[in-house]
Amino acid sequence: MDSVVLLQRQLVDYTAQLFNEGFLDDQFNQLQQLQDESNPDFVVEVVTLFFEDSERLLNELAKALEQQSIDYRKIDAHVHQLKGSSSSIGAQRVQKVCIAFRNYCEERNIEGCQKCLQQVKNEYSLVKTKLETLFKLEQQVLAAGGSIPWPMQ
């Protein structure tokens, strides 16, 4: 088989897997649809921004939770932000954890928050790795001379 086709097949499979496992949802498709010739790196840009944003937020969250008097409102704001970002790019699992996080915040449950923070971090690093792999695969396909097949489900 042609190497391009092989790579494309790999890419498709991997993406399908991500969706199946719930790492990504339909919003990610929407993002991909926004990418075209005039905006060729849209997805990568958005995801990179998400990574930066999320890391910053996670740091803030960690710092906030280490405080003596926890400012739940601030934590809630951060989590809200994170939830927003993750839902914007379709990082489903991260988003779900954020929702849970917010509930705990409302309840002012510090253990719950901390647990959630840990979960969020985990999910975030997972999705980050997966997305990076995805992008690498895409690069390989492009380098081999093929085109990225859209849309993918």
Partner: protein
Amino acid sequence: MESCNCIEPQWPAEELLMKYQYISDFFIALAYFSIPLELIYFVKKSAVFPYRWVLVQFGAFIVLCGATHLISLWTFSMHSRTVAVVMTTAKVLTAAVSCATALMLVHIIPDLLSVKTRELFLKNKAAELDREMGLIRTQEETGRHVRMLTHEIRSTLDRHTILKTTLVELGRTLALEECALWMPTRTGLELQLSYTLHQQNPVGYTVPIQLPVINQVFSSNHALKISPNSPVARLRPLSGKYMPGEVVAVRVPLLHLSNFQINDWPELSTRRYALMVLMLPSDSARQWHIHELELVEVVADQVAVALSHAAILEESMRARDLLMEQNVALDHASREAETTIRARNDFLAVMNHEMRTPMHAVIALSSLLQETELTPEQRLMVETILKSSNLLATLINDVLDLSKLEDGSLRLDLGSFNLHTVFREVLNLIKPIASVKKLPVTLNLAQDLPIYAIGDEKRLMQTILNIVGNAVKFSKEGSISITAAVAKSESLRDSRAPGFFPVLSDNHFYLRVQVKDAGQGINPQDIPKLFTKFVHTQTLATRNSSGSGLGLAICKRFVNLMGGHFWIESEGLGKGCMAIFIVKLGISEKTSESNPFLPKANHGQTAFPGLKVLVLDENGVSRMVTKGLLVQLGCDVTTVSSRDECLHVVSQDHKVVCIDLCMPDGFEAAARLHEKFTKHHERPLIVALTGNTDKVTKENCMRIGMDGVISKPFSVDKMRSVLSDLLEHRVLFEAM
């Protein structure tokens, strides 16, 4: 010395006689010498006398005669021999010269006599020439008169002036006593005295036209002398003691435009004449001369031409006045029509907007109401409301469409579409009703029918749906079949489509659609009326008809716009009906369904090119995503991350502001925007983006004055539809 006494002069009785002879001879000699002198003197004076030689001879002759007589003086007394010799010599000479002169005179005298004859001849000639000169001068004067008369007559185009001037000038030129013009009356049976020279108010005499004298004058184109006692000449009471002057009458042809045929000169075709009567002064013993008669004839002809010109001019002026009146009327009518059309268009424009807005609200809210919890009765009521308002909306659209069609301002929305899908959709739409009425509907699409075509999809579907709908409406039983195929050239030129001239070209094809039903049928005579607006063919089953009668008219217009032809055939009532139309569609290059791996550039047609949008969102990622989405729709997006920045950046150019409600002061921002733009139309539309889908959020949004709410996550399509709704209606719609 005896004869001495003889020498003594003897003066006896012969002395007296001798003395007289002596004196006479002396005087004769004197005369004989003086005559030549006189002759010479006078001849020298005159230049022309041609016979000088004769004169010299004559002179010599006379001189010698005188000399002879002079010498004879000495011969009365005793004279010597010398004297005798001299005398003899003189006599001889005289004899010679006189003979010569006599001979010469024989030649000369006839000449001299003929001079005289010639002189007489020349004198006669001179007298003749004088006479002729007089005649020519008279004629020239007559000609001058005629020219002046003609000039006077032709210098005006007014009929009355022409005739009056004629009479006046004739009267002056010919020194007439009276001059009159008799015109035929309208009936043509009488001549009426119309103009006279001296009487200011003609009394309106009429004479019958059939008088012999009149006939005589009319039948000749010369001026004829008539009797002063004839009825046309008896114009005034006889004033003189003697005979009235001579009268001449001449005909004046009255020409009409129709008389001037191409090959046919007026003499042959005129019917009507007027009569001009000219009277010389009474008591003058003047006679009509030939040249005067000729003058009269010429004038009569000129008058005829001048009158005909005047008549033509009158007619053309009348025609021009009529045309001007008609022009004014037409102008007025066209302006009225324009005003009417403009009024109608204004009315329709207002109607369009004003009626559609509430209609839309009713339909939208009714459909929303349908989604909620309703009791069965309520549901029925809502359904009825919905159906009725949909119908009303369709009617409004139809009327608007029709008026646009009539104005010619309707443009087809050409685009590439799936032809097969159109038919299938029509079938799907009509199947429910048809199955209720138990009418099977079949669709036959020909094998060579292209899948894709270029044309106005919406209107084509509207047309097909209307026709099929009619077929279903007017059928109680039987089946309905829809056939669609590509029309071949033979079937294109149909005798039933007289005005239809299909033009085959490479990138177009003609689609032929036929809908056949076995329903009520239509009376063939009523078929033309079907396409008339607002007319229903009245049959028994029209109680059910809910249409407005516009449907077929609109369909026909659409078909015509698509370069085609639409007609209906029916064999009569109860025999079913067949509706056929042919339209011209473009051939599309697309040959298959769109490849799923193709980039979907088609779908992202810029729906809102250049629309300025402001996005307010604290979250960088979601801000970027929203921006990307709007950019995909072709908007010009500015992003801000705080409320203050938003208020700073926003301007009247921004038509839409998207505010993410995750922000703590999203509502604040909206309120501030309301404050900043007090006028409704200057304010940008505010759309809230929120992850919350509950009623509280919705209510809050409405309260704060948001124009629209979109729930996250949203897709490009959703954003597009929301924006298009918003931009069209500026009414709060919720897209959840």
